[in-house]
Symmetry: C2
Subunit: 220 residues, 2 copies
DNA sequence: AACAATAGCAAACAGTGTTCGCAGTTTAGG
DNA sequence: CCTAAACTGCGAACACTGTTTGCTATTGTT
């Protein structure tokens, strides 16, 4: 049951450079592998992230990766936790919790823009690595002045990150490109589209609007 | 470019039982295949949906499916459009557009509960089959009384279905099961959890609350 | 009857994540 | 000092996957 993929600390004196275990010194580290996988996936997309590809980037064999990582899913979790470090340092406290939460979400959105694969990963299996927990902890710190149950706060945070994910996804898909619309079968769709021949670039920030109304609604 | 996977209508008289094309009569239909794939995926999950498995359910070979469907993705689109028929008949018009939109979303949520794989499918590639368009059209009908640009309405609808997806997903994952929390490293998380030893079952409907505040915020 | 178009489908192809077994390397214990 | 234990790297194989190819069989048209 013990995880063989992390170098174990020695029983002996702490702070000492930990004595080498037996066997050859590992050529790589979990972080090396995470970094290689991240740059690869940033460039080639999630579909391009294969164990063989990561191994090739590290100039080794696919099987070797399994000395460091139990599965592809664990690698994804590792990558996720790694890029989440980019969310630091967390913005210092506004006295307005709403502004602070919006700021946290905005930085999350920027992270999604930098690593688009994150959107798909976090949705399939929400991350609970150390960095995710630290981020969550800071959100709860921000929400300290709010009088609401812990459960309600968790829900609100979950919804906020969910909405952020939605925006990231819709940005990436740019325009889903509706097919030619049969204006007889779908009259309202056709009208709503054609009426927007001149799209007045709303200077409303949809992201912030949605987030604010949601958080206010949930943490009234 | 023409799609060989749908039986072509004859040039001649409409309404006539369309004369058979050459070759043997097809053993299946696209709908047959969609239904088989849907029941299979309802039971086994998205990961269990392989072309071979669907073929086996229809007592045929995997290659045969490609006479009806161009790819697995197209099959997924077919399945999606098929189950979306369950959203009909659309609820008749409330005079309150907000109530009507909430009702539309609620039915969507129920659909997600019946076919959990839909959550993952629609998120990767938003559907624009006939049923999806019909549903969208009805949403726009409901939003007729609202004074807002077509674009704004599209955005609002997209957010509503996005939020619905979030809820469906969080229901399915039941509890993501936080790992044991180090209350020193993450003090606020630890506090927020322990304070909820007695979870007072809120009779607030989180889904409706979130949806209402969002729609009001976006379509003010 | 000949021809063209279609359907069904086994086999093969290229790819995937993962496991196995072994060779090579380093350290611990006697 | 040497053996044994523990460890790393990794080629090869396994069990899958979606998809293509090439063939045969069937049907409608000419």
């Amino acid at each position: 049951m013990s995880d063989p993929h992390r170098p174990r600390k020695r029983t002996a004196s702490a702070g000492e450079t930990p004595r080498r275990r037996r066997g050859p010194v590992p050529t790589h580290s979990r972080d090396d592998i995470a970094v290689a996988a991240i740059t690869l996936t940033d460039n080639e997309g999630l579909a391009g992230l294969s164990m063989r590809a990561v191994a090739a980037a590290l100039d080794t064999g696919a099987a070797s990766l399994y000395r460091y990582v139990a599965s592809r899913d664990e690698l994804l979790a590792l990558m996720t936790d790694h890029v989440m470090r980019e969310l630091r340092p967390y913005p210092a406290g506004h006295d307005q919790w709403l502004d602070a939460m919006v700021e946290m979400s905005r930085r999350q959105l920027q992270l999604y823009r930098r690593h688009s694969w994150l959107v798909d990963v976090t949705q399939q299996s929400p991350a609970f690595g150390p960095e995710a927990l630290a981020w969550l902890d800071h959100c709860l710190l921000v929400l300290e002045p709010v009088t609401a149950s812990g459960r309600a706060k968790f829900e609100a945070i979950a919804m906020a990150t969910g909405v952020t994910t939605l925006f990231a996804r819709s940005e990436l898909a740019s325009q889903p490109a509706l097919p030619p619309i049969d204006s007889h079968a779908y009259p309202h769709v056709a009208r709503a589209i054609s009426a927007d021949a001149t799209p007045p670039p709303t200077d409303r920030d949809l992201f912030e609007d949605a987030l604010r109304s949601l958080l206010i609604g949930l943490l009234s």
